[in-house]
Structures are given as structure tokens and as C-alpha cells.
Amino acid sequence: MKFDGYSTDGFHDELFFKDGTPRPEARALVERIEALSEGELARRHQAAERALLRMGITFNVYGEEPSSERIFPFDIIPRIVPSDEWALIERGLQQRIRALNHFIDDVYHAQRIVADGVVPAEVVASSQGFRSQCVGLDPPGGIWCHITGTDLVRDRDGTIYVLEDNLRCPSGVSYVLENRAVMKQTFPKVFEGLAVRPVGDYPGRLLRMLEEVAPRRAGQVSVAVLTPGVYNAAYFEHSFLAQQMGVELVEGRDLVVADGLLRMRTTHGLEPIDVLYRRIDDDFLDPTCFRPDSALGVPGLMDVYRAGGLTLVNAPGTGVADDKVVYAYVPEMIRYYLDEEAILPNVPTYLCWRESDRRYVLDHLDQLVVKAANESGGYGMLIGPHASDAERQDFATRITADPRNYIAQPTLALSRMPTRVDNGFEGRHVDLRPYILYGNEPFVLPGGLTRVALRKGSLVVNSSQGGGSKDTWVLG
């Protein structure tokens, strides 16, 4: 199936130059896809979707019959990242995660960065992810953010920016692994001779990292994944990771604190857990410490944690750095803690609590993207150029009422990629979420989740807002 007539429309395209010739790293891929007939491509696309359905990689469409489960839309044209570009991304992310970890540790101890006037005290104190219960805590090895998913975007001129850091419970890595498995099954020939770096060792790396951060007491380390349960949207991922690591998948009702340790109810009595990879928010971990009305958590869990009898991954309180205002200070954090310049730049960010920034934002709402500081998943967001007057007016009111909660960024012309639409290829905007594990050393998985905005012209890639995904090939 040919790419004839495919146009980059003036955007940066991940596979093609502006003149329509494939980039060097994409040449072999483009040739192989062009060698497939349209019917064969369609057949394989269907086979890929069937495989995803069979593996139950689905989400429920609420309000319909139980049989109306849908797979997350998957596009068969992979993104290709050449090895030199990946090396830059890898170094940039390792640097960033070290700085962020320093920052979180500092926030819950001496707050040197505040005392030295680099980050304002009110920014830290007003971050919704700040947990006073975590002040003075020392997680094993000093690691707070063990697992991070950082969103990267590329602008029209080709520059890669960090859009946001997801430091709480980033999801999506299971799609990275399953997308690759499905691609290998349905398009084995397309991979030949391309030296695509494997991603399948992620669960093994994750397990090793979890064992590295175990409390010192542990001999044989007992690891478990904590899920809110089968009705959670990310349940597939929770069970997938537990299965691939060969560890227990537990729910709050399986757990109890006894004899100073966190334990699970088994067919042979209560057995201890050393490391808990929890996929629930801080607030629901322990009703005696955080939200008293939470039915999900385990009373006393935080006491065990504080006494060093348990490692929580990520550490509670890590969300303080997930705030979009705190984000704006990451380049300064890198300078402050590491004495280095940021390798990957931030998107220029206007902080609405600063009066001059706010005035600029309110005057330029038709050009900016406005985001609520503590929202994720594409919610609480205004894309100025695409919004109506009423929507812009609504955001102007919200910003004036609560300036601390809003930031604004220029509307980037996100890069695009050919995506299969009806019976041809059209350009669609994409981002990239690589995953970083931080145990003894930061490790960046060579690949990541390429999310694609399937609606024509849309810049929103979130799966809850009509986004799909693609396999991501990092070349060796």
C-alpha cells in the first residue's frame, strides 16, 4: 500500500521529510509497508485488533451491554526513533529524574531549595500532591519516584520538549509491551534487519528494581502489586504486570497489618509483604493517615512504612512534583541539585499566579493552551485556538478566581505521523511517553507509548479523549 499523496502539511513528520521522501531511519519501514497490498494490510490490521480483543486489552463502554467492550485503538504504523536521538532522550530523562528525586527528598526534609530562593515556598505548600504526613520520611536508598512516565512532544521545528512528568501512578506501559507483541505477531517481516531494541524485559527490570529498594530486613523479598480492583480502568495493566513479574496482585481487602508488618490473607494464613507497588493514590493507602473515608486502604499501613517495615512504590508524597506549576521549575532544579543545564527543555510556561504572566495569558487565550495544575488525562484543559469564545470566557473566569491552579503554554504544532485512516494514510498528531525506573540507577525503557490523536486536526492524545496508540521502535 503506497504513501502516494501523503502530505506532511507543513508539520514536522516523524517518518517523512517535508518533500515527501522518507527519513533515513524510516526508509526500510516505508518500503516494506509499500510492498504489502492494501487488502493484506487491512487483513493484518484486523488480525492485530482481534489479538488485542482476545487478550482482553479492552475498556468498558459504560451504559451499554456487557459485550460492548472496545479495544484501545491501535495503529499499525510504528513510530521510529533513531539511536542518536534516543541517546539524547535517555540522558535527558535520567538527568531529569535524578533532579526531581532530589527535589522531593528536599521538600520533605530541609527544603534547601526554598531557603535558597530557587522555588517559592508557596508553590511547594500549595501543590496538591504535598503530604505533610511524609515530612521527615526516609524511603530506602533515598528513592521516592521509582517509576515515572514522562510525556514528550515535538514542535514544528523538530525540538523535543518535556510536556509533563507523571510521578504518581503512570499507566500505559502494558500497552507498550502488548503493542510490540501484537506487531511482532502480525507484521514479523517488517522487523527484519532493523535492529529494533526490545522492550519485553521491562517486567524483569521492574521486578529487579522493586527488589533493590526492599527494606533491609528482607532476605527473600516478597513483592506485591496493589490494585483498586477489577473495575479500575487500568486493571488490565495491574494484573498484566503482576503476572509478568510473577508476584501477587492484591486488593485492600486482602491486606492487614499484624505484628508490625503488612501481611496478606492466604490459604495458609497471613504472609508478609516487603515491597508494595501500589497503583492507588496516596489518599487511599491508609484511612488512619490520609483520607478517613477511604474503604480501599489498609489501616496502619503508614505506621509500618514509617518504621521501615515496608517499601511503597512510588513513595507517598511524590505527587508534590507532579504539579504543573512545580514543573515550570524543573530546569532550575537541575541547575540547583546537579549543577547541569537541562538536556531536554521544558515547554515555555506562564504561571498564572504571577501577575505579569496572568495578564499575558488572559490577553492571549486564543493562542495558548491552558491547563489546570493538578489535572491529568486531558481534563481541565483549554486549547485556545480550537476553543469557542464561551469556552475561553469560562477559562478566563476560572483563572481569575484561582490563578494558582492554572498554567498556560504556547500551542505547539505537535509533530505528526502517517496513520491508517479508512483506506489511506493521513497525518495525525502524536506524543511520546517513555518510562523510567529508578532503583540503584535510573533506567529508561528503549521505547515508550506513542499516543496518537485519531481525530483529524486534534491535539489531544489521551485515550479518554479519542486517542489511540502506536508501537515505538527505538533503533539500536
Binding site: R54, S239, F240, A242, Q243, D254, R265, T266
Partner: protein, 314 residues
């Protein structure tokens, strides 16, 4: 392993086995329908009787016609024991334990669910009934085979076996009970071709006809009862099932056979010994239907004891 997970694995396997056996029960009649055409009227009511849903059926359906009974036993989601309900429940259980079962096994269970709930499933079941219900059985076997070949034979596997065999013992007893509800044209017909064909259909729907022939030869009531209740080697006989269930139960606990450390071992052990020392003529003398009724009560007790011993730890 986690108590919650053990319980889900146990019920996952019970539900799949139940779905398979509902298909077998319907299969009895599909076979009789052909064999008896011209000799006797087809009867669909017994299939509902042995499924245990008779009063529910009477409330919601006007007559025990072929279409109604197939709907009730196969697709009716209000009937908790219909094939579709069992498969949906098996899949829900599998979903909560998919980190414990192999990916291959989950794929088969999920496929099973997608097949049974497909939009054209109902139409297929009415049009090519024999084919559809055979597919249900085959899929159940595929899941069982995939489980045995891809899952480690550890504790989760033993809980699955336990569920599978307890359910199968119960279901085989129900299939045997079909004969109690199947009417003969007249009492003097005992031993005539219709009677014979009915017993043969029971054997066939347990996949046991050929094994029976090799062991017992001609079809007789006493021999069929001996075969389906007491045969040691036939994998669907009640004795074989409870013995296998007992093996798995003791593999979980490590208690030597003939000893017990919990209610489940006690109840199941008692049942196995009783079956060890009973025979068909004794059972028929006491009344086959009454014996089966008692047996089903015992299976429920064993089930309750398993729950108390392993799943409801506080």
C-alpha cells in the same frame, strides 16, 4: 496463595465445568430427538428439572418447548446456571486472577466468552444445535487442556482441579437423574428400545458410551448406574471425580490421605469412603433418585466446607 484468588480460581473452574455440562444435558435430548423420532414424543422438561431451575423457568416461560428450554439453559442471563451466565462468571473470575493463570488460558476463556455472547450465537444454537453445543464442550476441553499444559501444577492449579471435579461430580449425578424425569410411553416399556435408547443417550452425553461398552457390554440400568457413579477409571464418574478432588485438596494442605485437619478434608473424605463401599444394586434398592438427591446435598456441604476452610479467613 491469596484466599480471594484461590476462591476465584475455584469458581472459575466450576463455572466452566458447569457450562460444559449444561451443554451435555441439552445434548442428551438432541441425541434422543433423532433416535426417538417416530417412537416417542420429545421431552424438554427433564432438562430444566435437573438443572435445578425449574421454578424459575415456570415463572418466566409458558411451556417447555425446544426453543424455550434452549434459551433458558443457554442464553438466559437471568438464569445463573445458563451457559452464558456460567461463561460470563468464569470470565469475571478469570479477570480477577489473570496474573495467576497463564496468558494462553486467559485467551481461551476470553474467546469462550466472546463466542457465547456473539450476536449470532442464539441463531446458531437454534439452527445447528448439535454443532453449537459440541463447540461449547470442545472449548471447555480446550481451556482445561491449556490449563494443564501451560499452568504450573501448584496450589492455584489444585484449587482449579478441586472446583472442576466437585462440579463435575455434581453434574454427572444430574445427568444420571435425567432418566428419572424422562417418561416412558408406558410402564411396561422398561427394557424396550425406548428405555435402551434413553440410557444410551445418557452415556453418550457423558462421552462414556464407548468406555461403558468395553467394560459392561449391553446397556442395563444397573450397569449404567455402576458406571456413572462408581467406575474408578472413567473421568466423569462420580467416584473418580471426588477421588481426584480429594487428591488436589490434600495437595494444597499437605495432609496425608485418610487424615484430616479441616472441615473440607473431613467432609470430602467421608464422602469418598462411602462411595468406596457402595454399589449400584444397593443404590437402586434404596431408590436412585433419592440417592442422587442425597449426593447433591453432600456436594453442597463439601463446597461450604471448602469455603470455610480456605476462603473466609478473617
Amino acid at each position: 496463595m491469596l484466599s480471594r484468588v484461590a476462591e476465584s480460581v475455584y469458581w472459575m473452574s466450576r463455572s466452566i465445568e458447569r457450562a460444559e455440562n449444561v451443554a451435555r444435558v441439552v445434548g442428551v435430548n438432541l441425541k434422543l430427538e433423532i433416535d426417538l423420532s417416530g417412537l416417542a414424543q420429545e421431552q424438554w422438561d427433564p432438562m430444566v428439572q435437573v438443572s435445578g431451575g425449574h421454578s424459575d423457568f415456570q415463572k418466566r416461560y409458558d411451556a417447555a418447548t425446544r426453543a424455550n428450554v434452549i434459551e433458558f439453559l443457554t442464553f438466559d442471563r437471568k438464569n445463573p446456571n445458563s451457559v452464558a451466565s456460567c461463561v460470563a462468571s468464569a470470565r469475571e473470575n478469570a479477570r480477577t486472577v489473570r496474573e495467576m493463570i497463564s496468558s494462553e488460558m486467559w485467551g481461551e476463556i476470553n474467546d469462550f466468552y466472546l463466542t457465547v455472547t456473539a450476536l449470532d450465537a442464539r441463531e446458531r444454537a437454534l439452527r445447528d444445535a448439535a454443532d453449537f453445543f459440541q463447540q461449547v464442550q470442545r472449548t471447555s476441553h480446550l481451556i482445561e487442556g491449556t490449563k494443564n499444559e501451560t499452568m504450573e501444577h501448584g496450589e492455584a492449579w489444585h484449587f482449579s482441579q478441586l472446583g472442576r471435579y466437585i462440579e463435575r461430580a455434581d453434574q454427572t449425578s444430574r445427568i444420571l437423574d435425567v432418566k428419572y424425569f424422562l417418561l416412558l410411553p408406558s410402564a411396561s416399556d422398561v427394557g424396550n428400545p425406548v428405555d435402551d435408547l434413553q440410557w444410551s443417550a445418557l452415556l453418550r452425553s457423558t462421552s462414556g458410551f464407548e468406555a461403558y461398552r468395553r467394560t459392561f457390554g449391553l446397556v442395563s440400568r444397573e450397569s449404567v448406574v455402576a458406571f456413572l457413579l462408581f467406575d474408578r477409571q472413567f473421568p466423569r464418574s462420580v467416584h473418580h471425580c471426588v477421588a481426584r478432588a480429594q487428591t488436589s485438596l490434600h495437595a494444597v494442605t499437605g495432609t496425608p490421605l485418610r487424615r484430616f485437619q479441616n472441615q473440607a478434608e473431613q467432609q470430602l473424605g467421608r464422602l469418598v469412603s462411602e462411595l468406596d463401599y457402595s454399589d449400584a444394586s444397593e443404590v437402586i434398592g434404596r431408590g436412585l433418585h433419592e440417592f442422587i438427591d442425597g449426593l447433591q446435598g453432600r456436594f453442597n456441604q463439601v463446597g461450604d466446607a471448602i469455603t470455610a476452610s480456605f476462603f473466609s479467613l478473617t
